[in-house]
Symmetry: C2
Subunit: 327 residues, 2 copies
């Protein structure tokens, strides 16, 4: 069934024509390719495969932090800053509470209006759709498409909480963790999870009371994280709504990229990224081929049923299934 | 290799002897079986398979909330309460900041001392160990062992943040979300993630200022959650440190269990639990058999390498690998 649907004749647009459109920098082809990914259209796989060789040039940066930290404002500030250097910027909002995901209040929208009319900026929200193959996989695929389309920097905005988001963060090159002054003790859980994945810390809304206290807290929490390698994450104070601190953040990002390259960490992270993607694909494709292939959906339900009714146990059931698949 | 290590002769204790020990309610056998699970000893699979038929009798309850919400104190209070009814209680702490995980301050330890000396209570922390096969899988396996060992109620304490924890929560029967008054706006992210998975809400430390405001907030947030089915999650106020509200919580848990049974939701959740476990096992066993089986580890690294160096793309690489595995 899958092979048949991969036949180009079943599509209105030939995948290779779409791939060429993306490569040539045509934003409409890009939007169409992203839609294929989101719909999990089998043609998406072909397009992604075609374009994969053209990826690897974009700088991929995660912007992670709780709602209200001002991530979207920071992302807007960064986009405007890099646009002045004529860089093309992709924005992928995974955070469902982000203004980029439609959660905007009027003030935000006005601030972001110029980004939406700038053809050098491409904004996509991943937040409101249900991804069967996983949000992380879809986000990775969209990042690849933006990368192949020649965007210089891709900013991925996430809350950093939950299974999918953590997986998304694991595949960016640099992760910027955004905090704000006045976070209570109750935020320790998020902090604890976030501290280890931060390459750069931003204390946003730095004109608020308690900004220095937050910087001290982050420094203290960082001293508890055992392994930093040779990179000590810098803490940058910003007031994103006024564009303050963006130059310092650019500087920190540049230094981190130099560290990634010179230390071999960039290769290590790229390899890890490939490993995660390959394993995810293998497991998914295996399940696809198994259920509906080697086993009918009814067979599989019967196996589930036997375990539910204690006629079999999960371990033996899995072994039995794998025994049917000879290799 | 795996088959050989499953040979009973390679173990000091025959798996079936261990299984019998667990079934007979011997806590030392139980501790030993849990250790096998934690070490990912191949014998653990045999023990789990043997015991699976004896599971399904325990009431499995998740206690989820941020550090500082008083989850462990609540768990202690519940354990003491149910002990008075002569029920056997298992406590599985997934939260690394829990006193049960060794993060206790003196006051906590004194409060919990009687639990540690009570043979009708079994406490295990999952927090400090590195689980290759996944924390969620290991937690599920430990819950199964406790279930088979005849514990009437198993309380699973988690923060509810992060990939593994979310997976753990998905497999309990009832999830109790614990909040405290005075949580700031910054907690919205955790709240947003947690609201949808709460079957019962506890506002703990209800003698604190703002308790009623928190109840109102939870009620409001709940009205935003689209699907509740026929169950409207109740909000229970507790002061766990004084044992207040535990009876009301017991009542809410009883009502939820009756709902789960009468609505068919219990069967649906059990089935979903089996489905998740079976799929996890299938995918893991598939990767195990693939790398080191159908493919050598070197072969696999070469495939990863080809994708890293853009000589191949992830999709085609995965297809090629699966083509080698004929089924």
């Amino acid at each position: 069934m899958k092979d048949e649907s991969l036949n180009p004749s079943s599509f209105s647009l030939h995948p290779s024509a779409l791939s060429e459109g993306v490569l040539s920098g045509d934003n409409r082809s890009l939007a169409r390719a992203i839609s294929l990914v989101e719909r999990e259209d089998p043609a998406a796989e072909r397009v992604l495969a075609d374009l994969y060789g053209s990826t690897g040039n974009a700088r991929i940066v995660g912007i992670t932090g709780p709602p209200g930290a001002g991530k979207s404002t920071l992302v807007s500030g960064m986009a405007k800053h890099y646009r002045r250097q004529h860089k093309r910027i992709g924005i992928v909002a995974v955070d469902p509470t982000s203004p980029f995901s439609g959660g905007a209040i009027l003030g935000d929208r006005i601030r972001m209006a110029e980004l939406y009319t700038d053809r050098g900026v491409f904004i996509r929200s991943m937040a409101t759709r249900g991804f069967m193959g996983g949000l992380a996989k879809a986000t990775n695929d969209v990042v690849d498409l933006l990368d192949a389309a020649g965007f210089d920097m891709i900013l991925v905005e996430t809350i950093g909480v939950g299974q999918d988001e953590v997986e998304v963060i694991r595949t960016v090159q640099t992760n910027v963790v955004v905090l704000v002054p006045g976070m209570g003790d109750d935020i320790q859980a998020i902090k604890a999870g976030i501290m280890e994945i931060g390459d750069i810390f931003v204390v946003n809304k730095a004109d608020r009371q308690g900004a220095d206290k937050t910087v001290t807290e982050v420094t203290m929490m960082m001293s508890l994280v055992e392994e930093h390698g040779d990179w000590l994450p810098p803490i940058v104070k910003t007031i994103a709504s006024r564009g303050e601190g963006i130059v310092e953040l650019e500087d920190a990002l540049q230094k981190h990229f130099e560290y990634l390259r010179s230390s071999g960490e960039l290769d290590r992270r790229n390899r890890e990224r490939v490993r995660i993607r390959l394993e995810t694909l293998l497991k998914e494709k295996f399940m696809d081929r198994l259920v509906g292939g080697a086993l009918t959906a009814e067979d599989y339900e019967k196996i589930v049923d036997d375990v539910v009714r204690k006629r079999n146990n999960p371990h033996d059931a899995a072994e039995n299934v794998l025994r049917r698949v000879t290799f």
